[in-house]
Protein backbone atom coordinates (compact mmCIF):
# COMPACT_ATOMS: atom_id res chain seq x y z
CA UNK A 1 0.00 0.00 0.00
CA UNK A 2 2.67 2.46 1.10
CA UNK A 3 4.89 1.58 -1.83
CA UNK A 4 2.05 1.95 -4.26
CA UNK A 5 1.19 5.29 -2.73
CA UNK A 6 4.80 6.36 -3.18
CA UNK A 7 4.89 5.28 -6.81
CA UNK A 8 1.64 7.02 -7.59
CA UNK A 9 2.55 10.25 -5.88
CA UNK A 10 5.93 10.27 -7.60
CA UNK A 11 4.15 9.78 -10.90
CA UNK A 12 1.79 12.57 -10.07
CA UNK A 13 4.67 14.77 -9.00
CA UNK A 14 6.29 14.27 -12.40
CA UNK A 15 3.10 15.25 -14.16
CA UNK A 16 2.74 18.23 -11.88
CA UNK A 17 6.29 19.40 -12.57
CA UNK A 18 5.56 19.79 -16.23
CA UNK A 19 2.32 21.67 -15.72
CA UNK A 20 2.69 25.41 -15.29
CA UNK A 21 -0.63 25.71 -13.44
CA UNK A 22 0.46 23.58 -10.56
CA UNK A 23 3.91 25.07 -10.19
CA UNK A 24 4.40 27.38 -7.26
CA UNK A 25 1.10 29.16 -7.37
CA UNK A 26 0.84 29.04 -3.61
CA UNK A 27 3.76 30.07 -1.53
CA UNK A 28 5.35 26.91 -0.22
CA UNK A 29 5.17 28.09 3.38
CA UNK A 30 1.55 29.18 3.01
CA UNK A 31 0.70 25.79 1.62
CA UNK A 32 2.31 23.98 4.54
CA UNK A 33 0.57 26.18 7.06
CA UNK A 34 -2.77 25.54 5.31
CA UNK A 35 -2.15 21.78 5.31
CA UNK A 36 -1.27 21.80 9.00
CA UNK A 37 -4.37 23.84 9.86
CA UNK A 38 -6.59 21.45 7.89
CA UNK A 39 -5.00 18.42 9.54
CA UNK A 40 -5.25 19.96 12.98
CA UNK A 41 -8.95 20.77 12.60
CA UNK A 42 -9.71 17.33 11.17
CA UNK A 43 -7.91 15.40 13.90
CA UNK A 44 -8.00 17.55 17.04
CA UNK A 45 -11.48 16.44 18.15
CA UNK A 46 -10.41 12.82 17.80
CA UNK A 47 -7.27 13.51 19.83
CA UNK A 48 -9.31 15.24 22.52
CA UNK A 49 -11.66 12.28 22.80
CA UNK A 50 -8.77 9.82 22.92
CA UNK A 51 -7.00 11.64 25.76
CA UNK A 52 -10.28 12.15 27.65
CA UNK A 53 -10.86 8.41 27.49
CA UNK A 54 -7.59 7.64 29.30
CA UNK A 55 -7.71 10.43 31.91
CA UNK A 56 -8.93 9.84 35.43
CA UNK A 57 -12.09 11.72 36.44
CA UNK A 58 -10.34 14.39 38.49
CA UNK A 59 -8.09 15.30 35.57
CA UNK A 60 -11.03 15.43 33.17
CA UNK A 61 -12.59 18.05 35.43
CA UNK A 62 -9.53 20.22 36.01
CA UNK A 63 -9.45 23.77 34.74
CA UNK A 64 -7.61 24.72 32.62
CA UNK A 65 -7.98 21.45 30.68
CA UNK A 66 -4.76 19.48 30.20
CA UNK A 67 -3.72 19.09 26.57
CA UNK A 68 -1.40 16.21 27.44
CA UNK A 69 -2.81 13.62 29.82
CA UNK A 70 -1.13 13.61 33.23
CA UNK A 71 -2.88 10.42 34.30
CA UNK A 72 -3.49 7.12 32.60
CA UNK A 73 -6.30 4.67 33.23
CA UNK A 74 -8.12 1.98 31.30
CA UNK A 75 -10.97 2.14 33.79
CA UNK A 76 -13.17 4.13 31.40
CA UNK A 77 -12.95 1.36 28.82
CA UNK A 78 -13.67 -1.32 31.40
CA UNK A 79 -16.63 0.71 32.64
CA UNK A 80 -17.99 1.26 29.13
CA UNK A 81 -17.87 -2.46 28.34
CA UNK A 82 -19.37 -3.36 31.71
CA UNK A 83 -22.10 -0.75 31.41
CA UNK A 84 -25.64 -2.12 31.67
CA UNK A 85 -27.47 1.18 31.29
CA UNK A 86 -27.02 1.25 28.30
CA UNK A 87 -25.93 -2.36 27.72
CA UNK A 88 -22.98 -1.18 25.65
CA UNK A 89 -21.31 -4.54 24.95
CA UNK A 90 -24.59 -6.16 23.87
CA UNK A 91 -25.46 -3.15 21.70
CA UNK A 92 -22.03 -3.37 20.11
CA UNK A 93 -22.72 -7.02 19.31
CA UNK A 94 -26.18 -6.15 17.91
CA UNK A 95 -24.70 -3.51 15.63
CA UNK A 96 -22.01 -5.88 14.40
CA UNK A 97 -24.45 -8.72 13.64
CA UNK A 98 -27.02 -6.49 11.98
CA UNK A 99 -24.42 -4.63 9.90
CA UNK A 100 -22.81 -7.88 8.72
CA UNK A 101 -26.12 -9.56 7.84
CA UNK A 102 -27.36 -6.47 6.01
CA UNK A 103 -24.09 -6.16 4.12
CA UNK A 104 -24.24 -9.79 2.97
CA UNK A 105 -27.81 -9.41 1.74
CA UNK A 106 -27.05 -6.07 0.10
CA UNK A 107 -24.04 -7.61 -1.68
CA UNK A 108 -26.12 -10.52 -2.99
CA UNK A 109 -28.97 -8.40 -4.33
CA UNK A 110 -26.77 -5.45 -5.20
CA UNK A 111 -24.15 -7.40 -7.15
CA UNK A 112 -26.64 -8.98 -9.56
CA UNK A 113 -28.39 -5.64 -10.05
CA UNK A 114 -25.09 -3.84 -10.55
CA UNK A 115 -24.00 -6.52 -13.03
CA UNK A 116 -27.12 -5.97 -15.12
CA UNK A 117 -26.65 -2.20 -14.97
CA UNK A 118 -22.93 -2.34 -15.80
CA UNK A 119 -23.15 -4.88 -18.61
CA UNK A 120 -26.43 -4.47 -20.42
CA UNK A 121 -28.56 -1.80 -21.95
CA UNK A 122 -32.17 -2.35 -21.11
CA UNK A 123 -35.21 -0.17 -21.31
CA UNK A 124 -35.74 1.58 -17.99
CA UNK A 125 -32.12 1.31 -16.84
CA UNK A 126 -31.98 5.05 -16.28
CA UNK A 127 -35.13 4.82 -14.19
CA UNK A 128 -33.69 1.99 -12.08
CA UNK A 129 -30.56 4.03 -11.38
CA UNK A 130 -32.62 7.13 -10.61
CA UNK A 131 -34.79 5.22 -8.14
CA UNK A 132 -31.79 3.64 -6.44
CA UNK A 133 -29.97 6.96 -6.14
CA UNK A 134 -32.96 8.97 -4.99
CA UNK A 135 -33.61 6.49 -2.18
CA UNK A 136 -30.15 7.31 -0.89
CA UNK A 137 -31.10 10.93 -0.48
CA UNK A 138 -34.64 11.07 0.73
CA UNK A 139 -35.57 11.89 4.32
CA UNK A 140 -35.63 8.56 6.12
CA UNK A 141 -37.89 9.94 8.85
CA UNK A 142 -40.71 9.63 6.29
CA UNK A 143 -40.27 5.83 6.41
CA UNK A 144 -40.29 5.60 10.19
CA UNK A 145 -44.03 6.04 10.83
CA UNK A 146 -45.31 3.42 8.36
CA UNK A 147 -42.54 0.92 9.18
CA UNK A 148 -43.21 1.32 12.91
CA UNK A 149 -46.93 0.65 12.40
CA UNK A 150 -46.11 -2.30 10.15
CA UNK A 151 -43.47 -3.80 12.47
CA UNK A 152 -45.42 -3.37 15.71
CA UNK A 153 -48.72 -4.50 14.26
CA UNK A 154 -48.87 -6.43 11.04
CA UNK A 155 -45.73 -8.59 11.15
CA UNK A 156 -44.77 -8.10 14.81
CA UNK A 157 -40.98 -7.91 14.44
CA UNK A 158 -40.49 -4.68 16.40
CA UNK A 159 -37.38 -4.80 18.61
CA UNK A 160 -35.76 -7.65 16.65
CA UNK A 161 -32.89 -7.74 14.15
CA UNK A 162 -35.43 -8.14 11.33
CA UNK A 163 -36.95 -4.73 12.12
CA UNK A 164 -33.49 -3.24 11.56
CA UNK A 165 -32.26 -5.30 8.62
CA UNK A 166 -35.31 -4.46 6.50
CA UNK A 167 -34.86 -0.66 6.59
CA UNK A 168 -31.06 -1.02 6.57
CA UNK A 169 -31.26 -2.85 3.24
CA UNK A 170 -32.79 0.30 1.81
CA UNK A 171 -29.85 2.43 2.94
CA UNK A 172 -27.21 -0.19 2.08
CA UNK A 173 -28.49 -1.19 -1.38
CA UNK A 174 -27.97 2.20 -3.09
CA UNK A 175 -24.36 2.33 -1.83
CA UNK A 176 -23.78 -1.26 -2.93
CA UNK A 177 -25.35 -0.92 -6.38
CA UNK A 178 -23.62 2.40 -7.03
CA UNK A 179 -20.13 1.25 -6.09
CA UNK A 180 -20.34 -2.23 -7.60
CA UNK A 181 -21.63 -0.81 -10.89
CA UNK A 182 -18.63 1.47 -11.00
CA UNK A 183 -16.17 -1.36 -10.21
CA UNK A 184 -17.81 -3.81 -12.68
CA UNK A 185 -17.71 -1.21 -15.43
CA UNK A 186 -13.97 -0.83 -14.99
CA UNK A 187 -13.47 -4.54 -15.68
CA UNK A 188 -12.94 -5.25 -19.39
CA UNK A 189 -15.70 -7.60 -20.60
CA UNK A 190 -13.33 -9.83 -22.66
CA UNK A 191 -12.97 -12.56 -20.04
CA UNK A 192 -16.69 -12.89 -19.51
CA UNK A 193 -17.18 -13.05 -23.25
CA UNK A 194 -14.75 -15.95 -23.39
CA UNK A 195 -16.59 -17.69 -20.57
CA UNK A 196 -19.95 -17.12 -22.28
CA UNK A 197 -18.58 -18.68 -25.45
CA UNK A 198 -17.57 -21.66 -23.34
CA UNK A 199 -21.17 -22.00 -22.27
CA UNK A 200 -21.15 -20.42 -18.83
CA UNK A 201 -24.38 -18.73 -17.84
CA UNK A 202 -24.44 -15.02 -17.15
CA UNK A 203 -24.75 -15.54 -13.41
CA UNK A 204 -21.95 -18.11 -13.60
CA UNK A 205 -19.75 -15.49 -15.25
CA UNK A 206 -20.63 -13.02 -12.50
CA UNK A 207 -19.84 -15.53 -9.76
CA UNK A 208 -16.73 -17.16 -11.24
CA UNK A 209 -15.14 -14.28 -13.15
CA UNK A 210 -16.44 -10.84 -12.32
CA UNK A 211 -16.64 -11.10 -8.54
CA UNK A 212 -13.19 -12.71 -8.07
CA UNK A 213 -11.57 -10.20 -10.42
CA UNK A 214 -13.20 -7.24 -8.72
CA UNK A 215 -12.68 -8.69 -5.23
CA UNK A 216 -10.90 -5.59 -3.86
CA UNK A 217 -13.76 -3.44 -5.14
CA UNK A 218 -16.35 -5.81 -3.72
CA UNK A 219 -14.53 -5.74 -0.39
CA UNK A 220 -14.47 -1.92 -0.43
CA UNK A 221 -18.19 -1.91 -1.19
CA UNK A 222 -18.82 -4.30 1.69
CA UNK A 223 -16.90 -2.03 4.06
CA UNK A 224 -18.83 1.03 2.90
CA UNK A 225 -22.12 -0.78 3.29
CA UNK A 226 -21.05 -1.89 6.75
CA UNK A 227 -20.11 1.69 7.71
CA UNK A 228 -23.40 3.06 6.36
CA UNK A 229 -25.41 0.61 8.45
CA UNK A 230 -23.15 0.88 11.50
CA UNK A 231 -23.56 4.68 11.48
CA UNK A 232 -27.36 4.67 11.39
CA UNK A 233 -29.08 6.14 14.39
CA UNK A 234 -32.69 6.85 13.35
CA UNK A 235 -33.86 3.27 12.74
CA UNK A 236 -31.92 1.95 15.70
CA UNK A 237 -33.71 4.50 17.84
CA UNK A 238 -37.22 3.94 16.52
CA UNK A 239 -37.33 0.22 15.71
CA UNK A 240 -35.91 -1.12 18.97
CA UNK A 241 -37.01 -0.82 22.59
CA UNK A 242 -34.20 -2.43 24.59
CA UNK A 243 -30.84 -4.11 24.23
CA UNK A 244 -32.30 -7.23 22.64
CA UNK A 245 -31.79 -5.41 19.32
CA UNK A 246 -30.66 -1.88 20.20
CA UNK A 247 -27.65 -0.67 18.21
CA UNK A 248 -24.51 0.96 19.52
CA UNK A 249 -25.23 4.44 18.13
CA UNK A 250 -28.40 4.43 20.23
CA UNK A 251 -26.34 3.51 23.28
CA UNK A 252 -24.02 6.51 22.89
CA UNK A 253 -26.49 9.29 23.85
CA UNK A 254 -27.73 7.14 26.74
CA UNK A 255 -24.34 7.59 28.42
CA UNK A 256 -25.25 11.24 28.92
CA UNK A 257 -27.33 10.84 32.07
CA UNK A 258 -29.90 13.36 33.20
CA UNK A 259 -27.55 15.34 35.43
CA UNK A 260 -24.19 13.66 35.63
CA UNK A 261 -22.25 12.81 32.49
CA UNK A 262 -19.59 10.11 32.81
CA UNK A 263 -17.23 11.94 30.46
CA UNK A 264 -14.45 9.38 30.52
CA UNK A 265 -16.85 6.54 29.77
CA UNK A 266 -18.55 8.49 26.98
CA UNK A 267 -15.16 9.21 25.41
CA UNK A 268 -14.13 5.56 25.70
CA UNK A 269 -17.41 4.45 24.10
CA UNK A 270 -16.93 6.93 21.23
CA UNK A 271 -13.40 5.63 20.62
CA UNK A 272 -14.57 2.00 20.69
CA UNK A 273 -17.31 2.71 18.13
CA UNK A 274 -15.02 4.59 15.74
CA UNK A 275 -11.77 2.60 15.92
CA UNK A 276 -12.98 -0.11 13.49
CA UNK A 277 -14.15 2.61 11.09
CA UNK A 278 -10.86 4.49 11.27
CA UNK A 279 -8.92 1.30 10.53
CA UNK A 280 -11.17 0.47 7.57
CA UNK A 281 -10.82 3.96 6.13
CA UNK A 282 -7.05 3.94 6.56
CA UNK A 283 -6.78 0.68 4.66
CA UNK A 284 -9.16 1.53 1.88
CA UNK A 285 -8.90 5.27 1.46
CA UNK A 286 -7.68 5.25 -2.12
CA UNK A 287 -10.47 2.97 -3.30
CA UNK A 288 -13.08 4.82 -1.31
CA UNK A 289 -11.97 8.08 -2.84
CA UNK A 290 -11.98 6.73 -6.39
CA UNK A 291 -15.38 5.11 -5.86
CA UNK A 292 -16.88 8.22 -4.27
CA UNK A 293 -15.67 10.49 -6.99
CA UNK A 294 -16.24 8.21 -9.97
CA UNK A 295 -19.88 9.24 -10.32
CA UNK A 296 -19.11 12.92 -10.07
CA UNK A 297 -16.57 12.79 -12.85
CA UNK A 298 -18.19 10.32 -15.21
CA UNK A 299 -21.39 12.22 -14.87
Amino acid sequence: MAVREQVISTAQAKVADTSPRRRANWGVTGRYIAVIVVLFIALAPFYWTAITSIKIDSEINTSPPTLFPQSFTTQNYTNAFASTQPAFAKDLLNSTIVAILTTILALIFGSIAAYAIARSKFLGKGLVLAIVLSVQMFPLIALVGPLYVFFTGTINVYNTYVALIIPYLVIALPVTVYFLTSFFRDLPPDLEEAALVDGTTRLGALWRIVLPLTAPGVFTTAILSFITVWNDFLFGLTMTADSSAQTVTVAIPLFNGEHQIAFGEVAAAAIIVTIPLVIMVLFLQRRIVSGLTAGAVKG
Partner: protein, 310 residues
Amino acid sequence: MATTTQATAMPKQKISLRERLDLGSGLLPYYLVAPTIIIIALVAVYPIIDSIRLSLLDNPLIASGATFVGLRNYIQVLGDPAFKSSVGITITFSVVSVALEALVGFGVALLMNQMFPGRGLVRTAILIPFAFPTIVSGQIWLLMFNAQNGVLTYLMQAAHLLAPGDSLLRTPNGLVTASIIIDVWKTTPFMALLLLAGLQVIPNELYEAAGVDGSSRWQQFWTITLPMLRNALLIALMFRLLDALRAFDLFYILTGGGREVQTMALYSYANMFQGTTFDFAPGVAAAVILFIICAVVSIIIVTTTRLSQN
Protein backbone atom coordinates in the same frame (compact mmCIF):
# COMPACT_ATOMS: atom_id res chain seq x y z
CA MET B 1 -4.29 -4.04 -27.32
CA ALA B 2 -5.77 -7.46 -26.80
CA THR B 3 -9.22 -6.10 -27.52
CA THR B 4 -8.14 -4.62 -30.84
CA THR B 5 -6.56 -7.85 -32.04
CA GLN B 6 -9.57 -9.82 -31.04
CA ALA B 7 -11.91 -7.36 -32.73
CA THR B 8 -10.03 -7.45 -36.02
CA ALA B 9 -9.56 -11.20 -35.92
CA MET B 10 -13.20 -12.08 -35.43
CA PRO B 11 -15.41 -9.05 -35.89
CA LYS B 12 -18.65 -10.98 -36.40
CA GLN B 13 -18.24 -13.07 -33.27
CA LYS B 14 -17.42 -9.91 -31.34
CA ILE B 15 -20.56 -8.12 -32.43
CA SER B 16 -22.85 -11.00 -31.70
CA LEU B 17 -21.31 -11.41 -28.27
CA ARG B 18 -21.66 -7.72 -27.61
CA GLU B 19 -25.28 -8.03 -28.56
CA ARG B 20 -25.67 -10.99 -26.31
CA LEU B 21 -24.13 -9.00 -23.50
CA ASP B 22 -26.04 -5.83 -24.19
CA LEU B 23 -29.51 -6.70 -25.38
CA GLY B 24 -29.68 -10.25 -26.52
CA SER B 25 -30.95 -11.91 -23.37
CA GLY B 26 -34.32 -10.24 -23.22
CA LEU B 27 -35.68 -10.33 -19.72
CA LEU B 28 -32.50 -11.35 -17.88
CA PRO B 29 -31.42 -7.80 -16.87
CA TYR B 30 -34.90 -7.26 -15.45
CA TYR B 31 -34.68 -10.43 -13.38
CA LEU B 32 -31.30 -9.28 -12.08
CA VAL B 33 -32.46 -5.85 -10.95
CA ALA B 34 -35.84 -7.15 -9.75
CA PRO B 35 -34.83 -8.08 -6.16
CA THR B 36 -33.28 -4.65 -5.57
CA ILE B 37 -36.23 -2.84 -7.10
CA ILE B 38 -38.75 -4.94 -5.19
CA ILE B 39 -36.98 -4.27 -1.88
CA ILE B 40 -36.82 -0.56 -2.58
CA ALA B 41 -40.45 -0.52 -3.70
CA LEU B 42 -41.64 -2.38 -0.61
CA VAL B 43 -39.45 -0.74 2.01
CA ALA B 44 -39.05 2.78 0.63
CA VAL B 45 -41.63 3.68 -2.01
CA TYR B 46 -44.64 1.97 -0.48
CA PRO B 47 -44.02 3.41 3.03
CA ILE B 48 -43.90 6.91 1.55
CA ILE B 49 -47.35 6.34 0.05
CA ASP B 50 -48.48 4.75 3.30
CA SER B 51 -47.21 7.84 5.20
CA ILE B 52 -49.70 9.92 3.27
CA ARG B 53 -52.50 7.53 4.28
CA LEU B 54 -51.41 7.52 7.94
CA SER B 55 -51.13 11.30 8.00
CA LEU B 56 -54.83 11.56 7.10
CA LEU B 57 -55.97 9.42 10.06
CA ASP B 58 -56.64 10.50 13.65
CA ASN B 59 -54.74 7.73 15.41
CA PRO B 60 -53.20 4.88 13.39
CA LEU B 61 -51.89 3.19 16.57
CA ILE B 62 -55.36 2.31 17.88
CA ALA B 63 -56.13 -1.33 17.21
CA SER B 64 -59.89 -0.76 16.90
CA GLY B 65 -59.36 1.24 13.75
CA ALA B 66 -58.60 4.86 13.01
CA THR B 67 -60.91 7.43 11.50
CA PHE B 68 -60.18 9.53 8.45
CA VAL B 69 -59.74 13.18 9.38
CA GLY B 70 -58.67 14.70 6.06
CA LEU B 71 -56.03 17.39 6.32
CA ARG B 72 -56.61 18.05 10.02
CA ASN B 73 -53.13 16.82 11.03
CA TYR B 74 -51.49 19.04 8.43
CA ILE B 75 -53.47 22.07 9.62
CA GLN B 76 -52.48 21.27 13.20
CA VAL B 77 -48.78 20.88 12.31
CA LEU B 78 -48.63 23.99 10.14
CA GLY B 79 -50.24 26.01 12.94
CA ASP B 80 -47.85 24.68 15.60
CA PRO B 81 -45.22 27.30 16.63
CA ALA B 82 -42.77 24.47 17.40
CA PHE B 83 -43.09 23.25 13.81
CA LYS B 84 -42.59 26.76 12.40
CA SER B 85 -39.49 27.13 14.54
CA SER B 86 -38.23 23.72 13.34
CA VAL B 87 -38.63 24.85 9.71
CA GLY B 88 -36.59 27.97 10.47
CA ILE B 89 -33.87 25.98 12.22
CA THR B 90 -33.73 23.35 9.45
CA ILE B 91 -33.42 25.98 6.71
CA THR B 92 -30.85 28.09 8.59
CA PHE B 93 -28.78 25.02 9.45
CA SER B 94 -28.95 23.62 5.89
CA VAL B 95 -28.22 26.82 3.99
CA VAL B 96 -25.43 28.08 6.26
CA SER B 97 -23.67 24.76 6.71
CA VAL B 98 -23.85 23.77 3.04
CA ALA B 99 -22.64 27.23 1.94
CA LEU B 100 -19.71 27.05 4.38
CA GLU B 101 -18.92 23.48 3.33
CA ALA B 102 -18.86 24.53 -0.31
CA LEU B 103 -16.51 27.43 0.43
CA VAL B 104 -14.21 25.56 2.79
CA GLY B 105 -14.43 22.41 0.65
CA PHE B 106 -13.40 24.41 -2.39
CA GLY B 107 -10.43 25.81 -0.53
CA VAL B 108 -9.40 22.36 0.67
CA ALA B 109 -9.85 20.93 -2.84
CA LEU B 110 -7.62 23.63 -4.34
CA LEU B 111 -5.06 22.92 -1.62
CA MET B 112 -5.22 19.16 -2.23
CA ASN B 113 -4.79 19.76 -5.96
CA GLN B 114 -1.33 21.16 -5.17
CA MET B 115 1.59 18.81 -4.82
CA PHE B 116 3.15 18.36 -1.44
CA PRO B 117 4.78 15.44 0.33
CA GLY B 118 2.30 13.34 2.27
CA ARG B 119 -0.68 14.40 0.21
CA GLY B 120 -2.19 10.91 0.34
CA LEU B 121 -1.81 10.91 4.10
CA VAL B 122 -3.59 14.26 4.41
CA ARG B 123 -6.39 13.02 2.20
CA THR B 124 -6.84 9.99 4.46
CA ALA B 125 -6.75 12.14 7.57
CA ILE B 126 -9.51 14.43 6.37
CA LEU B 127 -11.61 11.40 5.41
CA ILE B 128 -11.66 10.15 8.99
CA PRO B 129 -14.32 12.55 10.34
CA PHE B 130 -16.46 11.64 7.35
CA ALA B 131 -16.52 7.94 8.33
CA PHE B 132 -17.73 8.64 11.87
CA PRO B 133 -21.34 8.06 12.87
CA THR B 134 -22.93 11.52 13.20
CA ILE B 135 -24.04 10.58 16.67
CA VAL B 136 -20.42 10.00 17.69
CA SER B 137 -19.19 13.22 16.03
CA GLY B 138 -21.86 15.04 18.01
CA GLN B 139 -20.79 13.27 21.17
CA ILE B 140 -17.12 14.11 20.59
CA TRP B 141 -17.91 17.79 20.14
CA LEU B 142 -20.24 17.69 23.12
CA LEU B 143 -17.19 16.70 25.17
CA MET B 144 -15.47 19.88 23.95
CA PHE B 145 -18.50 22.19 24.10
CA ASN B 146 -20.00 21.18 27.44
CA ALA B 147 -20.33 23.75 30.21
CA GLN B 148 -18.61 21.69 32.89
CA ASN B 149 -15.19 20.84 31.46
CA GLY B 150 -15.27 21.37 27.69
CA VAL B 151 -11.98 22.54 26.23
CA LEU B 152 -13.69 24.79 23.66
CA THR B 153 -15.92 26.26 26.35
CA TYR B 154 -12.79 27.00 28.37
CA LEU B 155 -11.09 28.65 25.38
CA MET B 156 -14.16 30.70 24.47
CA GLN B 157 -14.50 31.85 28.06
CA ALA B 158 -10.81 32.75 28.16
CA ALA B 159 -11.26 34.74 24.96
CA HIS B 160 -14.35 36.42 26.46
CA LEU B 161 -16.59 35.05 23.73
CA LEU B 162 -18.65 33.46 26.49
CA ALA B 163 -19.43 34.65 30.00
CA PRO B 164 -17.85 32.57 32.80
CA GLY B 165 -19.97 29.49 33.44
CA ASP B 166 -21.81 29.87 30.12
CA SER B 167 -21.60 27.43 27.20
CA LEU B 168 -22.45 27.57 23.52
CA LEU B 169 -25.12 24.91 23.95
CA ARG B 170 -27.19 26.92 26.43
CA THR B 171 -29.03 29.08 23.88
CA PRO B 172 -30.87 27.94 20.73
CA ASN B 173 -28.69 30.21 18.55
CA GLY B 174 -25.54 28.89 20.16
CA LEU B 175 -26.70 25.33 19.66
CA VAL B 176 -27.43 25.91 15.97
CA THR B 177 -24.00 27.55 15.64
CA ALA B 178 -22.38 24.53 17.29
CA SER B 179 -24.29 22.15 15.02
CA ILE B 180 -23.14 24.10 11.94
CA ILE B 181 -19.51 23.94 13.13
CA ILE B 182 -19.78 20.17 13.67
CA ASP B 183 -21.50 19.58 10.34
CA VAL B 184 -18.88 21.61 8.47
CA TRP B 185 -16.13 19.68 10.26
CA LYS B 186 -17.69 16.35 9.39
CA THR B 187 -18.81 16.78 5.80
CA THR B 188 -16.37 19.25 4.24
CA PRO B 189 -14.09 16.30 3.26
CA PHE B 190 -16.91 14.88 1.14
CA MET B 191 -17.37 18.21 -0.61
CA ALA B 192 -13.62 18.65 -1.02
CA LEU B 193 -13.13 15.18 -2.54
CA LEU B 194 -15.96 15.62 -5.04
CA LEU B 195 -14.61 19.03 -6.06
CA LEU B 196 -11.04 17.68 -6.19
CA ALA B 197 -12.19 14.99 -8.61
CA GLY B 198 -13.77 17.74 -10.71
CA LEU B 199 -10.58 19.83 -10.58
CA GLN B 200 -8.39 16.95 -11.69
CA VAL B 201 -10.27 16.40 -14.95
CA ILE B 202 -9.94 20.01 -16.11
CA PRO B 203 -7.45 19.78 -18.98
CA ASN B 204 -4.22 21.67 -18.33
CA GLU B 205 -4.31 22.92 -21.92
CA LEU B 206 -7.08 25.31 -20.94
CA TYR B 207 -4.87 26.96 -18.35
CA GLU B 208 -1.88 26.92 -20.67
CA ALA B 209 -3.89 28.62 -23.42
CA ALA B 210 -5.21 31.17 -20.96
CA GLY B 211 -1.68 31.74 -19.69
CA VAL B 212 -0.48 32.41 -23.23
CA ASP B 213 -3.34 34.85 -23.67
CA GLY B 214 -2.03 36.68 -20.62
CA SER B 215 -4.97 36.17 -18.28
CA SER B 216 -4.31 36.33 -14.55
CA ARG B 217 -4.81 33.41 -12.17
CA TRP B 218 -7.85 35.16 -10.76
CA GLN B 219 -9.36 35.47 -14.25
CA GLN B 220 -8.54 31.83 -14.95
CA PHE B 221 -10.35 30.85 -11.78
CA TRP B 222 -13.54 32.64 -12.85
CA THR B 223 -13.44 31.77 -16.55
CA ILE B 224 -12.09 28.21 -16.43
CA THR B 225 -12.11 26.58 -12.99
CA LEU B 226 -15.53 27.62 -11.79
CA PRO B 227 -17.49 26.95 -15.03
CA MET B 228 -15.74 23.58 -15.49
CA LEU B 229 -16.57 22.63 -11.90
CA ARG B 230 -20.18 23.71 -12.17
CA ASN B 231 -21.69 20.24 -12.45
CA ALA B 232 -19.50 18.59 -9.83
CA LEU B 233 -20.41 21.49 -7.53
CA LEU B 234 -24.14 21.19 -8.23
CA ILE B 235 -24.11 17.44 -7.58
CA ALA B 236 -22.16 17.90 -4.35
CA LEU B 237 -24.50 20.71 -3.27
CA MET B 238 -27.56 18.56 -3.93
CA PHE B 239 -26.23 15.64 -1.90
CA ARG B 240 -25.26 17.89 0.98
CA LEU B 241 -28.41 20.00 0.94
CA LEU B 242 -30.71 16.98 0.99
CA ASP B 243 -28.63 15.47 3.75
CA ALA B 244 -28.75 18.68 5.81
CA LEU B 245 -32.50 19.08 5.36
CA ARG B 246 -33.10 15.70 6.99
CA ALA B 247 -30.65 16.37 9.85
CA PHE B 248 -31.66 14.40 12.91
CA ASP B 249 -28.79 12.66 14.72
CA LEU B 250 -26.71 15.77 15.40
CA PHE B 251 -29.52 17.76 16.96
CA TYR B 252 -30.69 14.73 18.91
CA ILE B 253 -27.31 14.27 20.57
CA LEU B 254 -26.73 17.98 21.19
CA THR B 255 -30.14 18.54 22.76
CA GLY B 256 -30.32 15.14 24.43
CA GLY B 257 -33.50 14.48 22.45
CA GLY B 258 -35.00 17.62 23.96
CA ARG B 259 -37.64 19.67 22.22
CA GLU B 260 -36.24 23.18 22.50
CA VAL B 261 -34.10 23.22 19.37
CA GLN B 262 -35.56 20.90 16.74
CA THR B 263 -35.05 20.23 13.08
CA MET B 264 -38.08 19.15 11.08
CA ALA B 265 -37.03 15.49 11.30
CA LEU B 266 -36.61 15.78 15.06
CA TYR B 267 -39.99 17.51 15.40
CA SER B 268 -41.54 14.69 13.43
CA TYR B 269 -39.83 12.05 15.59
CA ALA B 270 -40.74 13.76 18.86
CA ASN B 271 -44.41 13.84 17.84
CA MET B 272 -44.40 10.21 16.81
CA PHE B 273 -42.58 8.80 19.81
CA GLN B 274 -42.46 11.27 22.69
CA GLY B 275 -46.05 12.52 22.81
CA THR B 276 -49.34 10.68 23.24
CA THR B 277 -50.51 8.24 20.56
CA PHE B 278 -52.65 11.07 19.17
CA ASP B 279 -49.48 12.97 18.27
CA PHE B 280 -48.31 10.10 16.03
CA ALA B 281 -50.28 11.06 12.90
CA PRO B 282 -49.28 14.77 13.08
CA GLY B 283 -45.67 13.56 13.36
CA VAL B 284 -46.13 11.52 10.17
CA ALA B 285 -47.69 14.58 8.52
CA ALA B 286 -44.60 16.63 9.40
CA ALA B 287 -42.40 13.90 7.84
CA VAL B 288 -44.50 14.03 4.66
CA ILE B 289 -44.02 17.82 4.52
CA LEU B 290 -40.24 17.32 4.87
CA PHE B 291 -40.33 14.71 2.12
CA ILE B 292 -42.15 17.13 -0.21
CA ILE B 293 -39.62 19.89 0.52
CA CYS B 294 -36.71 17.53 -0.25
CA ALA B 295 -38.39 16.34 -3.46
CA VAL B 296 -38.90 19.93 -4.63
CA VAL B 297 -35.29 20.86 -3.82
CA SER B 298 -33.91 17.87 -5.73
CA ILE B 299 -36.15 18.54 -8.73
CA ILE B 300 -34.96 22.15 -8.84
CA ILE B 301 -31.28 21.18 -8.64
CA VAL B 302 -31.58 18.34 -11.18
CA THR B 303 -33.39 20.66 -13.61
CA THR B 304 -30.74 23.35 -13.13
CA THR B 305 -27.98 20.81 -13.83
CA ARG B 306 -29.75 19.57 -16.96
CA LEU B 307 -30.33 23.12 -18.22
CA SER B 308 -26.71 24.08 -17.66
CA GLN B 309 -25.59 21.02 -19.61
CA ASN B 310 -27.66 21.94 -22.66
